[in-house]
Symmetry: C2
Subunit: 240 residues, 2 copies
């Protein structure tokens, strides 16, 4: 759904409700709002002026090592996270939330020059707040996913993933259930919230002002849920 | 879309066409068929009897190291790929195609006991063959994605991804385009085929016999495409 340009302090829930009304959407129990991190961060005022930032010691180190201006490394200038590598100025870093992503999720596109947009401080809390407001406005149980496009190991290209989740369980666990031949399924936990975020990504695009999508007809089962459930603890991660 | 149980030699394209007719689907230019690897592999007869397999030397080594029966390590018994770790009997391995996934994509669920299902030999070729048949049957340009659910580093749960692609470009490159503030977008290549596969995964499930999905209304731009475009060369992979 299209939204007007979002500014700090805007009531994002109201903008989403108005957009749904403009599109004459009839919301039903179990529908899912996928909302781009970008508009959530903007509404929450997570914008910083780059010239207000004193580069961290690590930023200075990286800048020296990669022959860059420390100002050109927004991530390290803003965050001070575990960094893993630099490619064309893109730093793969782990954010305080635990997400591993380019530039620690700090974005300098689609914001005014000289500024950067940070991830929401707590994407689950952002999702919960939005979800409560949307449930109140529509009178049915809807779920909310705050999403962003992340790169990933092994595979090319970015995909939209779920950072914050409210009103649904982000993982569906098939373990212990039986397949059509009566055998127990093993190791089959589906990252439903990430698949929903990716589906939302199909209509959200990068250039057009469509920072939210409504997925209908899936009748999600309710649940508290949390985007943190999707972060794999390092000690359980064989892939890395 | 629901399909009957698929057996070696079955005409999968015909089964998909019949399923579309049963659901009275009207296919339009740019619609996308997402088809589970499982039914493609079955139709292609990629089933092996485990007792016909002589475990490889590496399987014997892993079995000894992890105190397992080498027969219980189907991946290594069948493939001889780069392995990265073992967790509850699941081996993270790189297939000959270049995919990094659990058990090298070898599946012992949803097949008769004592057998295992291998990935298609060439998922792009499988996709192309299906796509040509579907285009002929429906008279419009549709794209085909052969998908499977893969785990991934950093994040919990499996998501459906694209192994083979035909009739569309799997990556959308926004680099060089300008955002709403006139700034050049950098490092923004979206893995469209993986997002489509994930969206298909939402309706395909694991337990019900819905091994294919049709995504409509997206008007994909045509292109030759290949699932190989989604495999990131190790030397360019900062995430791993």
């Amino acid at each position: 759904m299209g939204l007007p340009e979002v500014a700090p302090g805007d009531d994002l829930a109201r903008l989403l409700v108005e957009a749904a009304q403009r599109q004459r959407l009839v919301l039903e129990q179990g529908d899912v709002f996928v909302v781009a991190q970008k508009v959530v961060s903007k509404a929450e005022g997570r914008i910083v002026r780059l010239d207000s930032i004193k580069p961290s010691e690590r930023a200075e180190q990286w800048a020296a090592e990669y022959q860059k201006d420390p100002r050109a490394i927004p991530t390290v200038a803003v965050h001070d996270d575990v960094t893993r590598g630099v490619e064309r100025g893109v730093i793969i870093a782990k954010t305080r939330h635990g997400f591993v992503c380019a530039n620690a999720g700090v974005d300098v596109s689609n914001v005014p020059g000289g500024t950067a947009l940070l991830l929401p401080e707590n994407p689950d809390r952002s999702a919960s707040t939005l979800q409560e407001q949307l449930v109140r406005a529509f009178g049915v149980h809807v779920a909310v996913i705050i999403s962003d496009t992340f790169g990933r190991p092994w595979r090319e290209g970015l995909v939209n993933v779920a950072l914050g989740v409210a009103g649904m369980m982000p993982l569906v666990d098939y373990r212990g259930q039986r397949d059509t031949h009566g055998k127990m399924l093993q190791a089959t936990v589906i990252a439903l919230a990430d698949e929903l975020a990716a589906a939302g990504g199909l209509v959200m695009g990068k250039l057009n002002r469509v920072p939210a999508a409504v997925l209908q007809g899936l009748a999600m089962s309710q649940g508290k849920g949390s985007g943190r459930d999707l972060i794999r603890p390092a000690e359980r991660d064989l892939f890395r």
